[in-house]
Subunit: 483 residues, 2 copies
C-alpha cells in the first residue's frame, strides 16, 4: 500500500517541466482541485488559510490608513457597467451575464462583477456632496469573475478569483496621488516580508494600463518558466470615473468640482506565484511567516519505546506552541512516508525524535528549503527553531531575488529583446513611449509586452535610443513574456 500511496502522492515531475510540476503540486499538496465548473477551482483549506493570512495582514494596514470595509452587490446592471467607455471596452469580452432568475427572463442582463468601479461609483455619486465627505476610503474583500478563454491554471488564471478592491476618493489630485506610495508600500511589505517575493515595481505603459485609469503602478513577478506575471496594482483614475459617474463635491469655496479617485488590488493569484517560485521537485515550500504550521514533529516509533516517544513529542509541541506544530502520530505510516508527505506539503521545519534522541536529550531538525539536518540539544530547541525559521524566510527571499536579478538583461534593440525573451529572460530596454513601437514589440514576438517602467531610470537613458524606431528614448522598460 505504501508504495502505491507514494506514487499517487509524490511529485513525479521536475520543476523545469513547469505546467505538469505546478499542477501536481496544486493537487497533491491539497492546495486546489478542479471542479465541474470549467476554469474555476476549489481553494482547499491548505491554500485558503494562506489567503486569510494575506487578508488579515493587508487589512490591518489598510485600517491604519483609515480605509473601511464594505460590501457591494455581485451584480451590475448592463446600463451601469456601460457608462465609462474605456472601462467597459476593457472588460466586456470577459463578462459573465445573468439573464434568467428561476423561470423568469430578466428585463435587463446583469453582469457578474469583473471589478466594482461602476456599481460603487453610482453610490459614491449619491453619498458625496461636499468636501466634508472626503476623503472617502472604502475597500471590499470579495469574489470577481472574468471569463478567460485561455487555459486555466490554479490561482494564476481562473475565471473566478478573490481579491481586495480599494476605491478611494479625494478632493485634490495631490492628495489622491499621495496614496500611491502608501498602498504600494503595503503590498510590497506583504509580498516581500510574508510571501518572500521580490518584484519589479513600475508604471504600466499607456497601452497596458487599467481600463479607465490615468496610470497604473504594478508589481511584476518572474516565474520559474521564464514568464512574468502581474501582481498587486494601484490605479490613479484622475477624474475619469468621476466624470462618467457624476462624482462631484462642493469645495471649501462653495464651487462644484469633480473628485479624484484611486483603485488598488491584491488577488489570490499571489498564492500561485508564491507556490511556483519557492517550491521544488519534492513539493511545496512555504515561507515560515505565511505558513500556518511552521513545524512538524515526527516521532520515530518502535514498539518498546512508543509511549515515551509520543509523550516527548507532545511535550515538545507544548514548548513550540507558538509555531503551531503538527505532531504526526499516525500509526499506519512509517517515518519515511511521513517525511515525504510533510515535505510535499511544505512545512518549513521537521523535528524527528526517537528513543535514542530522548536518551541524549536532543532531536534532529531538518529544513524544508535546503534539506539541511542538524542535531539540536533540547534546551536550545525553541531558540534554534526561531532562528532557523527566520533564516528560511530570508533565504527564500534572497534566492528569489537572485533569480530575478540574474534574469534581467539590459539590451538596446529589437533583435536583442527577441533573444532575451527566447532565453526566457526579462529584457530591460529603452523605448520612445510611442504606442506603435510598443505594438511592434507585441506583434513581433508572441505574448511579449512591456511589463512596466521603473521610477528609477539608468543614467544612460539620456544617450539612449528607442529599441524599435531609434528615435530618442523616453524610458527604459522591463519587457517580458507574460501570463
Amino acid at each position: 500500500m505504501e508504495k502505491k500511496l507514494k506514487e499517487e502522492k509524490g511529485i513525479t515531475a521536475e520543476k523545469d517541466e513547469f505546467s505538469e510540476w505546478f499542477s501536481q503540486i496544486m493537487l497533491k499538496a491539497d492546495l486546489a482541485d478542479y471542479t465541474s465548473v470549467s476554469g474555476a477551482i476549489v481553494f482547499r483549506p491548505g491554500s485558503y488559510v494562506l489567503w486569510e493570512k494575506i487578508k488579515e495582514e493587508t487589512d490591518k494596514r489598510f485600517k491604519k490608513l483609515g480605509i473601511k470595509n464594505c460590501y457591494f452587490p455581485l451584480f451590475i446592471p448592463e446600463k451601469t457597467l456601460n457608462k465609462e467607455k474605456e472601462h467597459i471596452a476593457g472588460f466586456s469580452p470577459e463578462v459573465a451575464w445573468v439573464t434568467h432568475a428561476g423561470n423568469t427572463k430578466l428585463n435587463e442582463r446583469l453582469a457578474i462583477r469583473p471589478t466594482s468601479e461602476t456599481i460603487m461609483y453610482e453610490s459614491y455619486s449619491k453619498w458625496i456632496r461636499s468636501w466634508r465627505d472626503l476623503p472617502l476610503k472604502l475597500n471590499q474583500w470579495n469574489n470577481v469573475v472574468r471569463w478567460e478563454f485561455k487555459h486555466a491554471v490554479p490561482f494564476l488564471r481562473t475565471r473566478e478569483f478573490l481579491w481586495n478592491e480599494g476605491h478611494t476618493v479625494y478632493a485634490s489630485k495631490e492628495e489622491a496621488e499621495a496614496e500611491k506610495d502608501q498602498i504600494i508600500g503595503i503590498y510590497k511589505e506583504i509580498c516581500e516580508e510574508f510571501l518572500a517575493l521580490p518584484s519589479l515595481i513600475g508604471r504600466k505603459s499607456d497601452k497596458e494600463k487599467f481600463a479607465g485609469a490615468e496610470y497604473t503602478i504594478s508589481m511584476e513577478f518572474y516565474m520559474p518558466n521564464g514568464k512574468c506575471i502581474q501582481g498587486p496594482d494601484f490605479h490613479h483614475d484622475g477624474q475619469k470615473f468621476a466624470k462618467a459617474y457624476d462624482i462631484k463635491f462642493l469645495n471649501k469655496d462653495g464651487k462644484e468640482e469633480y473628485a479624484y479617485q484611486n483603485t488598488f488590488a491584491i488577488t489570490t493569484r499571489m498564492l500561485g506565484v508564491m507556490f511556483a517560485i519557492h517550491s521544488d521537485s519534492k513539493g511545496l515550500i512555504l515561507p515560515p511567516k505565511i505558513a500556518q504550521n511552521k513545524v512538524v514533529i515526527v516521532p520515530i516509533i518502535f514498539e518498546d519505546s512508543k509511549t515515551s516517544v509520543l509523550k516527548k513529542a507532545k511535550e515538545l509541541a507544548g514548548i513550540l506552541k507558538e509555531f503551531d506544530p503538527i505532531v504526526d502520530e499516525r500509526e499506519n505510516y512509517n517515518a519515511g512516508f511521513k517525511f515525504n508527505e510533510w515535505e510535499l506539503k511544505g512545512i518549513p521545519l521537521r523535528i524527528e525524535i526517537g528513543p535514542k534522541d530522548i536518551k541524549e536529550d536532543k532531536v534532529m531538525l531538518v529544513r524544508r528549503d535546503n534539506g539541511k539536518k542538524e542535531s539540536v540539544k533540547l534546551k536550545d530547541l525553541k531558540q534554534k527553531v526561531e532562528e532557523e525559521l527566520e533564516d528560511i524566510q530570508k533565504c527564500l527571499f534572497n534566492k528569489a531575488e537572485k533569480l530575478l536579478k540574474e534574469n534581467i538583461i539590459k539590451v538596446k534593440n529589437l533583435k536583442e529583446i527577441g533573444e532575451t525573451i527566447k532565453n526566457k529572460k526579462i529584457a530591460f530596454a529603452p523605448l520612445c513611449g510611442d504606442e506603435s513601437c510598443e505594438g511592434d514589440l507585441k506583434t513581433g514576438t508572441l505574448g511579449v509586452k512591456v511589463l512596466n517602467v521603473p521610477e528609477k531610470q539608468p543614467s544612460e537613458l539620456e544617450k539612449s535610443k528607442c529599441s524599435i524606431c531609434a528615435k530618442k528614448a523616453d524610458y527604459f522598460a522591463y519587457i517580458g513574456k507574460s501570463y
Copy 2:
C-alpha cells in the same frame, strides 16, 4: 443649514410604523443603501464592520472544533445542481442563471450558488476514500444569491446575502448528530452574548425543514412588527446527499458505507434582526459587545475654552482607548446636532465635556439605550464606562427576552391560533404532526406557519389534542407569521 440637515438626517417615523421606520434607520444611520440592482443592497461600513465581528467570533469558535475554511466556485453547473431531487425542488424557483460569457453562449447554464451542497459534495465524493479521511469539517464564508420575488428589505430579505456555510461529514450518524449541540451552542452564544438577542430554538416540522435535510434545528426571532424570522440553523442530512453525490468510505472493517452529513449557517440577516429589535425612534441602538466604537466624546466648545476642552477630550479618548472612542471635533456643528447624530448611529455611550466639567473634574455620561444621564468623576470614568457598557448589554437582552416571552401565548385550537396571530403574537399550540393539519394552518391564515418545535415540551402534552384535527397531539409548536 442645520435645520435642513436635521430634517434630512433624523428619523421621522415611530417604531410601530415598522417598514418606514426600519427603512429610515437603514438609510439614515448609514447602514445600507439601495442600488440600481433591484433587491440587492450595499452593506455600508457601519453594518459591514458588525458582520466582520460576527464572522470573527463565530470563526474562532468553529476553528476550536477543528472546522477549516475553504472556498468553492460561485457557479454550479445545472447538471450538478440537479442531482438531489428535494434540494433542487426547494431552490430552483430562486436560482439566478448565467447563460453567456462575453459574446459566447454557454453550452450549459450555470447557477449562481444559492447554497453550495451540490458543488462541494462532488469534491467530497472524490476526496473521501476511507474512515481515515473522516470527519471532514469544512466551512465557507461567502456570498449567495436567492432570487426572491417578494419586496426586498435591507438585511432581512435581499437577493444576495453573506453567510457561513458549514459542511461536515462523519462516519456515523451518532458522531454527526453530536455536532448539533456544538454548533447551535455557538450560534446561541453569538446571538445572545454579542447581539443581545434571545430566540426560540427547536426542530422545524418536516414541511418546513431544509430541502434535502433529515431534520433542521432553527433559531427563530420575534420582530417588533409581530412577525417572526428565522436566524441561524443546523441541518442533519443523514445519508441523503451522500447517496445522491456518492460520498462513500471504507470503514474499519474494510466495508463500503455512505457517510453522514450536516450543514449549518448564520447569515447577514442577523444584522437586520438586531437593528430592528433594539432600535428606537431616535435611531439605531447597538449592543456594546458588537459595536465598534462603544463611546463618543462630544466636547462642548466655547470660543474662549476651546483649546483646553479639546485637549481634555483627547486625553479622555486615550484613557478610554480600549472602547474605541470617537472624539467629535467637527467645527461646523453644535453639540445638540452632534448628540442627535450619534444617537441616530447607535453609539452606546456618550460623554459630554465642557469647560465647567473640566473645572469640577467630571463629565456627563449618557446612555443610548435608556437616555439616562449621570455626572461622573474623572477618576471613576473608566470603571464607570465599563460597568455601564456591561449593563447596557444586559438590559438590551433582558428587554428583548421580556418582549419575546410576553408575546408567546399558549392556545389549543385553530380559532385561538388565529386570534393570537391577529394580535401579532406567537401561538404555542399542540399539533398532531400531520402535514395536512399543518397545511390547513398555512392556508387558513396568510403567511402563518409552524416556526419550530422546542425540545423541552410542556407537561400537559400527554393530555393535549391537535389544535386542527383533535387527534392526539405529538408536540407543542411555535406558530407565527413569518418573513
